[in-house]
Assembly symmetry: C2
DNA sequence: ATTATGCGAAACCATTTGGTTTCATATCGC
DNA sequence: GCGATATGAAACCAAATGGTTTCGCATAAT
């Protein structure tokens, strides 16, 4: 189903704060362009262009309803982000574990996997 | 003194594929700039500029060691991303169980997606 | 002391980005 | 049919972005 290579990926798409707001707005509603654009301090055309970026990233989908185009969230591509992020969980997990050991002051922690990284906590 | 307001946030910082590669590279090693830059198809100065963006976003920290500057990952700001993403979990939870299972089974690395312009290593 | 190395700042450049205004087209209401 | 409304495409523009080369300055090595 991977169709043509989109020129915007999810990382680029969410980099812009306006587009993140659009995602939030369309998360649970489906809205036509004009209704969307009145909420933003820019022209309808500018909003339309942001919607196109989101659409190319697969984060939003529009369907035509009469003369209006109604957009809604399409959350699937966020899984790519989630997966990317998952890789780094272990790196802050170490730090949080160190913090937790400190807070708990219990005797359970078996081995200290302390790296030389210079404790920030 | 409170540091100046960073002009790059985590969303912008990770939008660039080179910078995502930098994060991955620096995740478990601490490396000086030249050692980093030889792995990228661009000048040392360009890499240095990417490191500065990451540094402003708090994703990387450099410490001077002699005449070299050694950078390493600073994962905390990724928590902001995680929090942002968490908001949308409920939207894919309903309809995307199958896809999520698919993702989770291959969840062992974050290295799947980086299509760096022109050069693989 | 002199040379070599590691790094970032500066100046510069091309392309992309985020916005605008204008225009063409499709559809709705009358 | 005709005017009003909804939308996207196009042309345009300023600023940001991602890269380059050049340069100056610390620090290391000889």
């Amino acid at each position: 189903m991977r169709a043509a290579k989109p020129q915007y990926d999810v990382f680029q798409a969410i980099a812009d704060p306006t587009r993140r707001e659009l995602l939030k707005l369309l998360a649970d509603r489906e809205l036509p362009v004009t209704a969307i654009s009145v909420r933003f301090p820019m022209s309808r055309t500018a909003v339309s262009k942001h919607l196109r970026v989101l659409s190319e990233a697969g984060l939003v989908k529009g369907r035509k309803s009469g003369r209006e185009m109604r957009y809604r969230l399409e959350p699937e591509p966020l899984l790519e982000l989630k997966r990317w992020l998952a890789y780094y969980e272990r790196f802050w997990a170490n730090k949080l574990a160190a913090l937790q050991r400190y807070v708990e002051t219990k005797d359970d922690a078996a081995g200290g996997e302390e790296e030389q990284s210079g404790a920030n906590f």
